[in-house]
């Protein structure tokens, strides 16, 4: 009964602290729309600048025929859904093209040298002739540049092999582990963006606890019969509800942007609920070290960013192995329940995994949650409820 009474209280307070509530609920969906707007949901077309010197000086056979067919091959390269792999821009100004790559206005510059057509034809007739050459200019810090280079090289090799009758040294087949549909950059971000909705609970949960300390009402709670376990249960139930609402809103936002999930919403919600509990446990731990709302909104931002960045919500991190349990490798940043959640969400949303398939991640999240709760409750008691 005490837990229910306190649950009602913390729920009402959350509703009336509408600015924090709105921030928690709207943050992730807003990020979804921003990322969608930024990347757009279209399949990636790499911007390829082609500087073709082959046309001007090949005077024998039809002028620049091989380079023209190569450019056509690049233009015709398409994703399974028919969308083009490359957006081709032909130019004659190599310096300007390189500058565009540096500015990331383009992903790759390919220079087709003079005599390219002649070299291709010669190689078709005589395998001992020197091979035709292409020169790529790419920014190694731009992942899209590397991707564009790999794909343009593959198209070029295939095309020249076909034109010269040469055999490709390897026949590589690709089997998609996902749905097989083309994946946009936005699609790749969605699982992590959904976890962001859960991380926001860090603020609302910590606010519920710190406010009692800041306003002195913790004294009333200490005098009453409410136990720490009841207090934390009430806060957790409320925050899990809030987390699930935020997660659902973010998921709906992604769907409204054309995102197609391969997995089930119930599985997502179960993992989401467990992760929210983990975030609440971390909030309890943080609250043990803070005494005022001001401290929460300044010092408390640090753990928020730790969760955001080290859970790989923003960008991938190097995998540093920590240990292997039952054939599952655990990495250093798996100490955060949100990292395991990103992985589980990725499996559910991208590969259609069910709860059984993410059992290891779910178990890990629950074990971490229990650990954080135990430590957080002990510290919270010592720091704020000790007589």
């Amino acid at each position: 009964m005490r837990t229910l009474a306190y649950l009602k209280k913390t729920f009402l307070e959350n509703l009336r602290e509408w600015k924090i509530l709105c921030l928690a609920l709207v943050f992730a969906p807003a990020f979804v729309y921003m990322m969608y707007g930024y990347y757009s949901a279209a399949t990636p077309s790499y911007r390829l600048l082609v500087v073709n010197h082959d046309i001007q000086i090949d005077l024998g056979e039809p002028v620049g025929a091989e380079s023209e067919t190569l450019v056509r091959a690049w233009r015709e390269a398409a994703h399974p859904d028919g969308s083009p792999v490359f957006a081709i821009i032909e130019t004659t100004d190599l310096a300007a093209a390189r500058a565009q790559v540096k500015e990331r206005d383009a992903d790759l510059v390919v220079v087709i040298p003079a005599g390219f057509s002649a070299a291709v034809r010669k190689y078709g007739e005589d395998r001992s002739a020197p091979p035709a050459r292409l020169t790529n200019y790419a920014d190694e810090r731009n992942l899209r540049g590397s991707m564009a280079m790999a794909m343009s090289d593959y198209v070029a090799f295939s095309h020249v092999a076909e034109r010269t009758g040469a055999d490709m040294p390897l026949d590589v087949s690709v089997t998609s582990l996902g749905s097989g549909r083309p994946v946009s950059d936005f699609d790749l971000f969605v699982p992590a963006l959904l976890v962001l909705a859960l991380i926001m609970v860090l603020f609302t949960a910590a606010t519920s606890l710190i406010k009692e300390v800041d306003k002195g009402t913790m004294t009333r709670l200490m005098l009453s019969r409410l136990r720490t376990s009841e207090l934390l249960t009430a806060v957790s139930v409320n925050q899990v509800f809030l987390g699930l609402v935020a997660l659902t809103l973010a998921y709906l936002a992604a769907l409204s942007c054309g995102y197609e999930s391969a997995g089930s919403l119930p599985a997502l919600l179960v993992v989401g609920a467990a992760t929210t509990l983990g975030v609440v446990a971390i909030a309890v731990l943080i609250s043990a070290f803070l005494k005022s709302m001001f401290e929460l909104l300044t010092v408390g931002v640090f753990p928020f960013f730790v969760l955001m960045f080290f859970s790989e919500c923003m960008f991938p991190l190097p995998k540093i192995r920590a240990l292997v349990i039952a054939g599952h490798t655990l990495y250093v940043n798996d100490i955060l329940p949100t990292t395991l959640c990103v992985r589980a969400f990725n499996k559910i949303l991208s590969f259609g995994a069910g709860l059984g398939d993410v059992g290891f991640e779910l178990g890990g999240i629950l074990v971490l949650t229990a650990g954080y709760f135990a430590l957080g409750t002990w510290l919270f008691n010592r720091r704020h409820q000790r007589v």
């Binding site: 005490r2 009474a5 209280k9 307070e13 009402t217 200490m222 009453s224 000790r386």
Partner: protein, 317 residues
């Protein structure tokens, strides 16, 4: 008929509390009788709030024991003792809950059923003049209303022993009367320990008064007995030229026992018994020293006189 032991609601036995080198409470012993209102007085920093926090289980004493209705109070393990109600010195209310919501919550945290909690909340809102503010959020109330709500929150679970830490601070005269009247109506049914700096309020409310200073108990008794303890139920003020009262002191020291007179600005205060006879001799001295006599006043001794007499005039904080 209740025995003496049964009549003790709160027994404090030699409790002490140190904060580093500071001795906040020094072997304080006190019995509070069931149904009485005890005024707990002391200058700033005397250790009142520390003592009070120990008495209601919010602070662990370094030594000594506390019993509530004959049962030992074990700090940390006596959480949620139904017998105790507290209205802390600082306002401790939930700002984003309405008045009725917070009273109901406080009652339910002491296991009162929802209907009882609601009825109790409505009763206290009525008593403390907050009925028309029942649906207002705590943060939207005026300072005085918040103060009244703070007291009501300590009463909502019908405790047997109520600790009020400076409940009158920040209240307007109307609110003071309202709170005082309500507390007086509880006399006999609820044991109340009230700390205050308002001597007049303590005099009006308290059955007995306890004065502590530097963590030590100085005295505990009824106000009337304390006044007698001071030596006289009346005080005589001899008013001379500004600052001249000091020049009277050597002569008065020969006439009156030590501790029964004090010079304060232009006033000389006499509190010794037989002060009327003394007055004539003091007036002779005024004349002999050629001082200008401005006036002579006689008034009843107050609790403040007792308090100042025991704790001195020097500022503490």
């Amino acid at each position: 008929m209740a025995t003496h032991e049964q009549a003790i609601a709160l027994r404090v036995d030699e409790i002490s509390k140190h904060f580093g080198d500071l001795v906040a409470v020094d072997r304080l012993s006190l019995d509070v009788h069931r149904g009485e209102i005890l005024g707990f007085l002391g200058p700033n920093g005397a250790g009142k709030t520390t003592a009070l926090r120990m008495m209601c289980g919010l602070l662990r004493p370094d030594g000594g024991t506390i019993e509530i209705n004959g049962k030992p109070l074990v700090p940390g393990r006596s959480r949620g003792i139904r017998e105790i109600g507290v209205a802390p010195q600082n306002l401790v209310i939930w700002e984003t809950l309405t008045c009725v919501e917070q009273l109901e919550l406080a009652a339910r945290l002491y296991d009162q059923p929802p209907r009882v909690a609601r009825a109790r909340a409505e009763h206290l809102l009525e008593v403390f003049g907050l009925a028309d503010k029942a649906r207002r959020l705590g943060k939207t109330l005026s300072g005085g209303m918040q103060r009244r709500l703070n007291i009501a929150l300590g009463l909502v679970h019908e405790p047997e022993l109520l600790f009020l830490d400076e409940p009158q601070a920040g209240l307007d005269p109307q609110s003071r009367v309202l709170v005082r009247d309500y507390l007086q109506s509880l006399r006999g049914t609820m044991t109340i320990v009230i700390t205050t700096h308002d001597m007049e309020e303590a005099e009006k409310l308290a059955d007995r008064v306890c004065i502590i200073d530097r963590g030590k108990l100085l005295v505990v008794d009824t106000v009337a007995r304390l006044k007698n303890h001071l030596g006289a139920s009346q005080l005589i003020e001899v008013v001379v030229d500004a600052g001249a009262s000091q020049s009277l002191l050597p002569a008065v020291a020969k006439l009156a026992p030590p501790g029964t007179f004090v010079a304060e600005g232009e006033k000389l205060l006499l509190t010794s018994t037989g002060s009327t006879a003394l007055l004539a001799r003091v007036l002779d001295e005024v004349s002999r020293l050629g001082l200008h006599l401005v006036g002579v006043h006689m008034r009843d001794a107050t609790l403040e006189d007792v308090f100042i007499g025991l704790t001195g005039r020097r500022l503490r904080e």
